[in-house]
């Protein structure tokens, strides 16, 4: 009696199936890797796009704040090593007092007190954008200080958290760079260099620039 293993049919199946199983497994692993890589790339791209979107939106908001500002107080152009790049400006509290007068049918202002409050110097706030790297995180810090009633109210936000790269690794690069135009003091160039760590090439810096012309003129 032939042993089971000596049956030509069974011996053949074993070898063939082994090869097929190995081949299938290899293909499965290969396809899985491709799939995982693909999804990773997809997620990475989505994160990158979100970071870019956030940067653009922030630059857009900064530009709007510059245009709306009664006075740009400080535009400090410093190397990021000093972690001191600052944009500081006055801001009217339109969110609280409204944007302007409203009129009744006879043309009289109906919200005079709010308009007075809007331009009252004690109600004019200060908004500061500053690049911060505290050792654990790097970010763009927005600090808005407005007076509400008798006391000042401070609102702080951390923007672009850990998306702006560590300045120590890029000592010659400005992370947030605000500069007044050397000739026209009214222009402020805001430039953010973004280095998203999730990017395929971690050293690939993306630059975002915005030039805001202050609208206010005169005295």
């Amino acid at each position: 009696m032939h042993s089971l293993l000596n049956k030509p049919h069974l011996r053949g199946i074993t070898l063939t199936e082994l090869a097929v199983v190995i081949a299938i497994l290899s293909i499965a692993v290969f396809l899985t890797k491709i799939g995982v890589d693909f999804f990773n790339n997809l997620l990475r791209q989505q994160s990158l796009i979100q970071a870019q979107r956030d940067t653009q939106r922030i630059i857009y908001d900064i530009g709007r704040e510059i245009r709306n500002s009664p006075k740009v107080l400080q535009v400090a152009e410093q190397n990021s090593n000093e972690s001191g790049t600052i944009l500081q400006l006055n801001s009217l509290d339109a969110g609280r007092w409204g944007f302007g007068p409203t009129f009744n049918k006879s043309g009289q202002v109906t919200n005079q007190q709010n308009v007075n409050n809007l331009f009252d110097p004690v109600n004019i706030g200060t908004v500061t954008y500053q690049y911060i790297n505290d050792g654990t995180a790097s970010y763009l810090k927005r600090t808005a200080v407005f007076r509400a009633g008798l006391s000042a109210v401070t609102n702080e936000k951390k923007l672009l958290l850990n998306i702006i790269d560590d300045p120590l690794q890029l000592p010659t690069t400005y992370q947030m760079f605000c500069t007044p135009d050397p000739y026209y003091k009214s222009r402020v160039l805001v430039e953010i260099h973004l280095n998203p760590p999730m990017s395929r090439n971690p050293r690939a810096i993306r630059s975002y620039k915005f030039e805001a012309m202050r609208r206010r003129s005169g005295l």
Binding site: R67, K71, L92, S186, R214
Partner: protein, 506 residues
């Protein structure tokens, strides 16, 4: 039935389902990502465009305010719609109101809306704008503005330049700049930095003034003031020219005034026959007619008469605007009828007693080009004293004093003197260095003062610059104002909240 086949079919179905699911997941992820990206990019670019539209509305409103005044601005078209990128966009001027508290200004509210497909973007711009008389500026230059030694604009005037330079012995009421100032602000040459200054009536004031730059009024002298943003100087665009052409009505046929020794407004109440020296043949009795308009270069003034220079001057009676689509050429002296040159006589104003009458004697020259001072002023008659200044054996002409008064608006150009050195005989050549004097009284709005040759070269004898206070106190009609934007606030609103844009008009 073959079970192996059934098994294969099961595997195939499984793979098919798996592949379909994977495809769906992938498709959803990609679609979401692309959709997300597209939405954000669209939002930012559309909002940016919407802000620009609102800003266009604001500029339109300011333009109307400064050009035609508050009442007429209110009556002008308040809305503009355009088809754009498969949708439409529009700006709408919601409000122009004069407010007095907390400060006096015009409040302008403009709204903008942009629709593309089902998406709608809108914003509102709240602007607080002050308008002022541009005639308050003795000089406003979109370039370097240099007050030469001896320039006494006086404490009623202002000057403005992107950068300013001062010589000693200069005075002005207020000096404004954007870029740089020379001497620097800490210089003791400014009276404000070297106080106390002697009283102007004291004997020591003259020598003090000769060494200093006086800005403001005694004893409160100031330093030049750096503005946060450039002033919006009046412009002479095609729209402005069209506006002046409309104001000129029928008075668009004459461009050569060189034979006139007197120029009156093209229309004024009480006109019956031409006054002496006035050669214009189409006067009307309409007091509102102050503008001579020409598509050609406007020429005015004629050659000096060394025996009677005052008679050779072209006198301007009333407020007369000369608007040229090209240059304006000054061929001689052009002065106000009540000029100090004649001892400041009292001269009646054309059209007095009726609306729109002239309130001062002022020539106003407006051009998108240059103000050209030609080389035709000097009379080559040898002087009566027989002087041979250059020692060439021939008697030279006498000294000539070219007097230019009025308001010169060339915001795209300059004042361009012409050299006499191309003319024969050679006596002309020394005119520059010794015999030609320039007296200016008035105001100019220029793009630049840099011209070749410059005033110093052509009028080498002496140059004097003064301000004409009547331009401030009695401003000429139809002159664009100077707009100062005090504040603007951008407000983002939902489309439904934008009041003025209720009905799209694609």
């Amino acid at each position: 039935m073959n079970p192996k086949r059934n098994n294969n079919r099961g595997i195939t179905i499984f793979y098919a389902v798996f592949t379909a699911l994977a495809t769906v997941v992938l498709g959803l992820a990609i679609t979401q990502m692309l959709g997300f990206t597209s939405r954000q990019a669209n939002y930012l670019s559309n909002m940016d465009r919407t802000f620009r539209l609102a800003e266009t509305g604001m500029n339109n409103a300011i333009g109307a305010l400064t050009r035609v005044g508050f009442s007429a601005a209110m009556a002008q078209n308040q809305k503009q719609s355009f088809p754009a990128d498969g949708g439409w966009e529009e700006w709408y001027r919601n409000t122009i109101k004069e407010i007095t508290k907390p400060f006096r200004c015009y409040y302008i509210k403009t709204e903008a809306r942009r629709e593309r497909g089902a998406q709608c973007y809108s914003s509102v711009l709240h602007s607080y704008v002050e308008t002022s008389n541009v005639g308050e500026y003795a000089a406003a230059v979109n370039d370097d503005c240099w007050l030469l030694q001896g320039t006494q604009f006086g404490d009623e005037s202002k000057i403005y330049g992107l950068s300013l330079r001062f010589d000693n012995n200069t005075s002005v009421g207020r000096a404004q700049y954007i870029g740089s100032v020379n001497p620097p602000l800490n210089s003791k040459k400014y009276a404000a930095n070297d106080l106390p200054a002697p009283d102007p009536s004291s004997s020591g004031f003259y020598s003090y003034k000769a060494q200093h730059i006086l800005i403001g009024k005694h004893p409160d002298y100031e330093l030049p003031q750096q503005l946060p943003a450039p002033l919006l100087l009046p412009q002479v665009t095609q729209a402005d020219l069209d506006f002046y052409k409309l104001l000129a009505g029928p008075h668009t046929t004459v461009s050569d005034f060189t034979n006139y020794s007197a120029v009156y407004p093209p229309g004024y109440f009480g006109f019956t026959t031409n006054n002496a020296g006035d050669l214009y043949a189409a006067h009307t009795t309409q007091n509102r007619h102050h503008v001579y308009y020409s598509a050609n270069t406007i020429k005015i003034g004629h050659q000096n008469d060394i025996a009677n220079p005052e008679a050779a001057m072209t006198k301007i009676y009333g407020q007369v605007l000369f608007v040229s689509e090209k240059n304006i050429e000054l061929h001689g002296s052009v002065v106000s009828a009540d000029s100090a040159v004649f001892g400041s006589p009292s001269v009646s104003l054309p059209g007095t007693g009726r609306p729109d009458a002239s309130t001062a004697h002022q020539g106003v020259f407006i051009t998108p080009g240059d103000i050209v001072i030609t080389d035709t002023f000097v009379d080559m008659t040898p002087n009566s004293y027989g002087f041979d200044f250059d020692g060439d054996g021939t008697v030279d002409p006498d000294s000539h004093y070219q007097v230019i008064e009025g308001f010169y608006i060339a915001p795209n150009g300059t004042i361009q003197p012409t050299s006499y050195e191309t003319r024969a005989p050679t006596q002309y050549h020394l005119i520059h260095s010794q015999l030609l004097y320039f007296y200016f009284k008035g105001s100019w709005i220029l793009n630049t003062t840099l011209a070749t040759p410059d005033m110093k070269t052509v009028f080498g004898g002496y140059r004097s610059y003064q301000y004409m206070p009547s331009l401030k106190d009695k401003p000429p009609p139809y002159i664009p104002s100077l707009a100062t934007i005090l504040y603007t606030l951008e407000e983002v609103k939902d489309c439904g909240e934008v009041i003025g844009s209720a009905s799209p008009s694609p």
